[in-house]
Symmetry: C2
Subunit: 313 residues, 2 copies
């Protein structure tokens, strides 16, 4: 079932007080390069540095009092782990995060710093899932999927909603696609605005399962993805795929070198720190300029969490 306009509006109201209405930036250099008017929705300035706090917050706020008391659980070694931990902490809810034993220390510390309890598992998908299920049952905690959850998708939809309020009459919006939670949320919200906005996805060639899923009409697994955009290695799910199928016009794929170049370009010219996943959306725009020519373009900068001691340039 695809959420309604009212669901989107409710999510906007529900999470508004708990997340940042992040700035929208522009660049005359990029406008000239693109022959377009481009608006960057800067979720790198969001709490914990990525849009993921939106979905996490919305998911927790939809729980009953009893469910909230028992807490939430997810498995993630990335931004969603920190997002659920922070959202839970802001809402006085307990969060349990299942993380692989080889997760970087800095990510573990971030999650622990927000007061979440880390549950270690072996670094395999199977161990992640079985460990999560075991603790979920034991604790009575509610599982929140990082991307394949309608409340998470609705939370994510609020970013482009805010963007459209600041940058009126957008023609097209581009967002990166990994697990599909951001792209589905973006496409959903744009669909309900009072004028038509095209939604385009952006994906690395090295992890193009969403592209293939749209092409074949069936969710394709993400097998051995190879990309610097580590947030985009996951695959679509049964909740977000129908939304993406219905409302996303196409997915533009980009090379690794294009991702790194776009990332460097944005850092150098716009002076903002964006993570590789965000650079995928920028790179897609740079690659397919004709899709955007003379249009008002929204770009969802999904986050800015990078390891400064390990940059690709």
């Amino acid at each position: 079932m695809i959420p309604t306009l009212k669901d989107v509006q409710s999510a906007v109201k529900r999470i508004g007080p708990l997340v940042h209405n992040t700035p929208v930036l522009t660049s005359s250099t990029i406008d000239r390069m693109m022959n377009a008017t481009v608006f960057f929705k800067c979720e790198n300035f969001q709490r914990m540095g990525a849009f993921k706090i939106r979905g996490a917050t919305n998911a927790i706020l939809q729980l009953s009092k009893d469910e909230r008391a028992r807490g939430v659980i997810t498995h993630s070694s990335g931004n969603f782990a920190a997002a659920l931990a922070l959202a839970a902490s802001s809402l006085n809810t307990k969060a349990y995060i299942v993380m692989p034993s080889n997760a970087p220390a800095v990510k573990r510390e971030a999650v622990a710093g927000y007061g979440a309890q880390i549950i270690e598992c072996a670094p395999t998908l199977k161990s992640r899932e079985s460990t999560t299920l075991k603790h979920q049952n034991k604790l009575g905690a509610t599982f929140v999927h990082p991307s394949n959850d309608l409340n998470v998708i609705l939370g994510n939809s609020t970013a482009v909603w805010e963007l459209a309020k600041k940058a009126e009459n957008l023609d097209v919006v581009i967002a990166p696609v990994g697990g599909g939670g951001l792209l589905a949320g973006t496409a959903l919200a744009t669909n309900y605005l009072h004028y038509y906005i095209e939604t385009i996805g952006a994906e690395p060639f090295g992890a193009d399962d969403a592209y293939l899923s749209l092409k074949t009409g069936k969710i394709q697994p993400s097998i051995n993805p190879k990309t610097i955009a580590d947030g985009l290695k996951t695959q679509l799910g049964d909740k977000n795929f129908p939304i993406i199928q219905k409302f996303v016009s196409k997915i533009i794929r980009v090379e690794e070198s294009e991702i790194i170049e776009a990332m460097k370009f944005i850092w150098e010219r716009m002076k903002i720190v964006i993570e590789p996943s965000s650079a995928v959306a920028v790179a897609a725009m740079f690659r397919n300029k004709t899709d955007f020519k003379n249009r008002r373009v929204g770009v969802i900068i999904s986050g800015g969490n990078v390891d400064l001691s390990n940059l690709p340039f």
Copy 2:
């Protein structure tokens, strides 16, 4: 002669249409750390990536028609070279930039890209000055000093003026000091606001000529300065020193390690790219927390031009 309130207001009006009214950002993490409310005036988002376009624009706009026709000249291998080149280009004026033969290619290209003519000199102060004088006389171009020029200082004063309009009731403002043009402009403008704002300078220990100048009451030369903040290696001049003496309450000095840490902290937490000179102001605030406790603090982030392939972390 110290410029008046009217001079500041005129500069604000004069250059307003030609420069960005840059965003003011905040960080709840930093507010908590500081026990203060901190407003960052983000001149890293300014045209050509630094506040220097303000002074350059104001200086050119104050020239007569004849002077404009003959062009402007300066010697600089840093941000002011690019600033004068871009300001001149925007105002259909010719700019001549004297640059040492060992200036980095990337800086030469930026200046040339804005359409300025580069005049090469030997990499010594003597050659810079004599080459400039020679061409100044030959071309009839007006020399614009990067920091020791009242019109440049007045142009620079507009940054904090904008900040004070967005962040009301500031108690104190901190700005880095190198040649003194930004600090003098900042102190001048804050002095003319309708309520008292303290102005503090920030300087590396390795280039603390401004600190020593204030202490001794006499401009001290910058001898063999050693700091990563290459924008702060120059010394004060007879135009800006009296303003700094009159309106700046003190200068906080910081270690190189503090500059690098502050720079990394701002990149990681605020997701903005700031250059080492800007990090000096942040580091000074972090170092002397008691000076800022329970106050509304403005920080002038002077610029964001860094070489991403040569970062200190």
